[in-house]
């Protein structure tokens, strides 16, 4: 057992939820409460097991750590090849935190097909964790797809009234993107085989390839499209509000908290190192789309009457900021973007959770149905307020650190005006989020039913408070996180810069070649 | 040359038979007429096989024709049985009127 945890810690973290899912399938279908508790227990256990990842991770060391490598399909050069750097470490931790939080919320609020629900969540967790640690493109693609199916069912079975439409839309959008990515992966691997005579899908091998001209552009676009749909970058965001509105609360938390981040993560992990030249050429476009996303998301969010839709559009806006940071490509802006991914996961997760708390009591998410409930549900109000302040970037909370780092980092890049535009978005987010709080919690209490609202239950409180604690922690001690991000970001920038230099020095060969 | 008849004449006749067969199979609407057209196509192939066999001086061509004739006979028996079965239902073997399935 010790050896397992020592040498295969990453694999244990990734596959523990899947093992839990298999265990659940052995239970009778009617054992709802057992299924609920087991699923929650497994996710907590996974969180506990994942803590050593954080402690054993060597801060300040670039490159991947805690690696494992086993041949999977040797004939095709596909390996089970996993490892962590600062970027994946943070998102893995975010995943292992948010999954028990969302399951804890579901403990009291899901009645239908509990066993299936729990299985779907645990499989989803394995899919997300696997995508985050995979260093082999084929393996990554497998996990990436594994992640889609449970979310499709979570939205489609346990969702709201328009759930079938929303789940189909979600599935088809994300799937179409990833199929093109699959073809691009295959193409890169074939080029590698032609050049070296060996099959490999390992990221390290494939990043040694150099692509030029149109080929690189097309390959980059295939990858970028898949990830941009997931983020989602404007104008590919239309699936998101539907998916969020219809998804059950826990599904929204995971969707906003982790799955959207995987788009940005995939871009940083795969698209950038594989096609640095094209990525740099398209970076200005990315930044512009990010700016549009920030402003557009904020304005549409302001116009919403449905709380969940409002938070969903605020995600479009906040992730636009992340995209700007990636497009600017300075050390600081990149670090900020990665930190902001975590921040957004925490704050939006908490917001969806608390909207879910209100919805479970009143069965409506209309802003107008609430108002003046601060006195009725003080604890909910306090938690919601902290999440809101985190989301709009109040100093002392995590959101401020992330946003500020991105804005400053972008200001240091050649694209200063993005920073200005993004700052507008931050101000707009303060407007619509505070309006939301005002209309829900403070305005005069006109709807009589709201007097009978009950405050958070202990389980809901624990779930939300966990996230609040993390918000404060990152807000107060951001360097705990940033120190882990920086080496990863710097090595990313270094590799991109080195390859760009090499590319421009060589006489741009038409056919790709492998640099040893 | 196959005796007094040049190979090209045999091939022309076979090609014409095949063309007539294809046209008949595509244009006719009565199942039996379609089937007869298909038989024409097969016999066009037979004629070409015999012609080539004689011109190239191998017997394979003629031997193959026996196989084809045997298969054509088997096909006829299966086909006619199917026509009878469908006539019992619809009282017609006009393929335009047999349209339970979308076609």
């Amino acid at each position: 057992m010790d050896a397992l945890l020592r040498d295969h810690l990453v694999s244990v973290v990734v596959f523990l939820p899947l093992a839990g899912a298999v265990l659940l399938l052995l239970l009778p279908r009617s054992a709802a409460s057992a299924a609920r508790n087991i699923a929650f227990g497994v996710s907590v256990l996974d969180l506990i097991v994942s803590v050593p990842l954080w402690t054993r991770f060597l801060v300040g060391v670039p490159g991947f750590q805690l690696r494992e490598r086993i041949d999977w399909i040797p004939q095709l050069g596909i390996t089970y090849n996993v490892g962590l750097d600062g970027i994946s470490l943070l998102l893995v931790m975010l995943t292992t935190v948010l999954t028990p939080v969302s399951l804890l919320f579901s403990l009291t609020h899901v009645e239908k097909e509990v066993r299936g629900y729990s299985v779907a969540f645990l499989v989803l967790e394995t899919g997300m964790l696997g995508s985050l640690v995979a260093l082999d493109l084929a393996l990554f693609y497998v996990f990436w797809e594994v992640m889609l199916v449970p979310m499709y069912f979570i939205i489609g079975i346990w969702g709201g009234p328009r759930r079938i439409y929303a789940s189909m839309k979600f599935f088809l959008f994300t799937m179409s993107g990833s199929l093109l990515m699959f073809l691009a992966i295959l193409f890169v691997a074939i080029r590698h085989h032609t050049a070296t005579g060996a099959w490999s899908f390992a990221l390290e091998d494939l990043t040694r390839m150099t692509f030029t001209g149109r080929v690189e552009t097309y390959l980059f676009l295939a990858f970028a499209l898949a990830f941009a749909i997931k983020v989602p970058v404007f104008p590919l965001h239309t699936w998101l509000p539907d998916a969020h509105t219809e998804a059950p609360t826990a599904g929204s938390i995971i969707l906003a908290g982790v799955m959207l981040k995987l788009g940005a993560y995939g871009y940083l992990r795969f698209a950038l190192p594989l096609f640095p030249d094209a990525a740099m050429r398209f970076a200005p476009w990315l930044g512009v789309l990010g700016v549009i996303g920030v402003i557009y998301g904020a304005m549409v969010a302001y116009a919403q009457h449905d709380m969940k839709r409002l938070v969903a559009y605020s995600s479009v806006s906040h992730l636009g900021l992340v995209v700007i940071g990636i497009g600017a490509f300075t050390t600081m802006s990149l670090s900020g973007s990665i930190l902001q991914m975590v921040n957004h996961g925490l704050s939006t997760g908490a917001l969806f959770l608390l909207v879910g708390v209100l919805y479970e009591r009143r069965h409506t998410r209309e802003l107008d149905a609430y108002g003046g409930i601060a006195a009725v549900v003080p604890v909910t109000t306090a938690l919601f307020l902290i999440a809101t302040l985190s989301s709009i970037g109040l100093p002392g909370l995590n959101g401020f650190v992330g946003e500020f780092t991105i804005l400053l980092g972008t200001w240091l890049s050649p694209h200063r005006w993005w920073s200005a535009a993004a700052a507008t978005g931050v101000i707009l987010s303060a407007i619509y989020m505070l309006t939301l709080v005002q209309r829900v919690f403070w305005n005069p209490l006109v709807v009589e039913e709201n007097r009978k609202l009950t405050d958070v239950r202990p389980s809901e409180f624990v779930a939300a408070a966990t996230l609040v604690v993390l918000m404060v922690w990152i807000g107060v001690r951001p360097n705990d996180v940033l120190d882990r991000i920086r080496p990863a970001v710097e090595s990313l920038q270094k590799s991109v810069a080195a390859r760009q230099v090499a590319l421009h020095e060589s006489a741009r060969p038409e056919i790709s070649e492998v640099r040893r | 040359m196959i005796g007094p008849i040049p190979l090209s004449h045999v091939l022309l006749a076979s090609g014409a038979l095949f063309a007539i067969g294809v046209a008949g199979a595509l244009l006719r609407r009565n199942a039996i007429q379609i089937f007869l057209s298909i038989e024409l196509m097969m016999n066009a192939a037979n004629l070409a096989l015999i012609g080539y066999g004689a011109a190239l001086g191998t017997q394979q061509g003629q031997i193959i024709v026996f196989f084809v004739i045997a298969i054509a006979a088997a096909e006829a028996s299966v086909g006619l049985a199917i026509f009878v079965a469908i006539f019992r239902h619809t009282e017609t073997i006009d393929v335009n009127k047999i349209n339970l399935l979308k076609w």
């Binding site: 004939q75 789940s167 088809l172 093109l180 073809l183 | 298909i38 070409a48 193959i64 199917i82 026509f83």
Partner: protein, 483 residues
């Protein structure tokens, strides 16, 4: 040319001979037993297929199979053995899936199983065919049995109509194929594939030869249901008894791919520039039309018919990629995957079919998850695999086919195939949504041991090839033509 017959030739044909004998026995028993003891007949048919499989395994160990047999008419190379195994697999699945269905129908079962076995004999010969004329005869044996199987429910107007359509278009296509054969024969007076390859290597292009090759291609494209020779497929699939449809969608198609690959890889390789272009266009048209038409269907059998047309288009990528070993591997692994996943999906329809034509409309799948969770999950697995989502067999198959296409320089076709796979998600997931997201009839599903076994085999095959493909890929490596 001399015909050399050896006694050992018959030994190598033991599987075919045995299956023929069992088919005749079943036919005789059917006359004697009529509509009684059908379970026994089904059992007998299953055992026959099993023993034939053992005989194939026995043949695989014989050293004599290195040389072609019966004067070069047949060859028992690894490629042939792979397809024989695949044909027998689909045959065994069909017999098992038919038992309850045929037992409930008012027609004698013995004839049904006999026809299935005869059709199987034809397919086994097709897998080995090494000479255009032996291939043609084998193809006809398979086809004539299939026509009757399509119309087996002769009191059902739909079934006889399917038989009529299948027969007319099938006979037409074999006429076209035959005429193509005669023209190719005219090029040099030989019919054996290796001899043809030798002859054509030094021959120049002639218009008649090209026409011959094209007509042969057209005849074979009909059998695999590629556009524009696909029109029979939806009607025949919808009208035929469902187990027969399941059989049509795998067995004959697999066998047709065997001869398509063998003829074009071995004999006509020299003129690949000419037929390659045609095959590429046909593949593109097949993928597009199959997937787009499937979107519009509300009958699941028709939908799966169009989906199988689309799948034929993907598999043609393997024919195009024949210049690297990936093309052949792609065809083999994809057809193996396809047999499991497609047959599995059709078996689910049989399971739902209680009386008449229920189980055919998408709405019959409503709420299947409530009625039987395992059935719904397994169907989902087949749908995911058909759509090519990892980790399932369909993904591995597509992986090989796309690689083959890209290696052969048909990147545009691979892109089209991927786009079309995305389109296919629409209709596959309509069934998934019906099963999991909607309410349906509360009636319990009635399964039988045989049906459960078929579904289990298909599900395990689909999943295992997807998760641990390595052993299967090792087998593929040895499946080279001529060895």
């Amino acid at each position: 040319m001399t015909f050399a017959f050896h006694a050992s030739d018959w030994l190598l044909l033991a599987p075919e001979l045995f299956l023929t004998a069992m088919g005749l026995l079943l036919l005789g028993l059917s006359v004697a037993l009529g509509k009684t003891k059908e379970d026994f007949l089904a059992f007998l048919a299953t055992v026959s297929v099993g023993i034939t499989g053992a005989l194939v395994a026995f043949v695989a160990t014989r050293p004599e199979r290195a040389t072609p047999i019966l004067g070069g008419a047949f060859v028992v190379d690894n490629f042939a053995l792979f397809f024989k195994a695949l044909v027998l697999l689909s045959l065994a699945l069909t017999v098992l899936a038919s038992a309850r269905y045929v037992g409930a129908a008012p027609y004698p079962g013995g004839e049904y199983y006999a026809l299935l076995l005869f059709s199987g004999v034809g397919m086994l010969f097709m897998a080995s065919g090494n000479n255009l004329i032996s291939i043609y005869v084998a193809l006809e044996l398979m086809a004539l049995s299939s026509y009757v199987l399509a119309g087996y429910f002769k009191a059902e107007p739909k079934s006889t109509e399917a038989a009529l359509k299948y027969f007319i278009l099938g006979a037409f296509s074999s006429g076209v194929l035959l005429y193509g054969l005669s023209l190719v024969y005219g090029a040099g007076g030989v019919m054996g594939l290796p001899e043809l390859a030798k002859l054509l290597a030094s021959a120049s292009r002639s218009n008649l030869l090209m026409l011959g090759i094209l007509l042969i291609l057209a005849g074979l494209l009909f059998k695999i249901a590629a556009v524009p020779f696909h029109v029979w497929t939806p009607d025949v699939y919808e009208g035929s008894p469902t187990p027969v449809t399941a059989f049509f969608s795998v067995g004959p198609k697999v066998a047709a791919y065997a001869i398509l690959a063998r003829i074009f890889y071995v004999a006509f390789a020299k003129f690949h520039a000419d037929w390659g272009f045609v095959v590429a266009l046909v593949s593109a048209a097949t993928m597009v039309l199959g997937n787009v038409a499937a979107l519009l269907q509300s009958n699941v059998k028709r939908m799966l018919a169009y989906s199988s047309i689309a799948n034929a288009g993907y598999a043609l990528l393997g024919v195009l990629g024949f210049r690297t070993e990936w093309g052949l591997w792609g065809i083999l692994i994809y057809l193996l995957a396809y047999t499991f996943m497609n047959f599995g999906a059709f078996t689910l329809i049989i399971l739902l079919e209680s009386k008449g034509y229920a189980g055919e409309s998408v709405s019959d799948f409503n709420g299947l998850a409530k009625r039987s969770m395992p059935a719904a999950v397994v169907m989902l697995l087949f749908l995911l695999s058909l759509a090519g989502i990892p980790p399932t067999a369909g993904f591995i198959g597509k992986y090989y086919l796309f690689t083959a296409a890209m290696k052969a320089g048909y990147a545009w076709l691979a892109i089209l195939a991927v786009v079309m796979s995305a389109v296919s998600l629409f209709y596959y997931f309509r069934i998934a949504a019906a099963m999991f997201f909607t309410e349906g009839s509360p009636a319990k599903l009635k399964s039988s041991y045989a049906l459960s076994a078929v579904i289990a085999v298909c599900a395990v095959g689909t999943l295992v090839i997807g998760v641990v493909p390595q052993p299967f890929l090792e087998v593929l490596k040895s499946c080279v033509l001529g060895r």
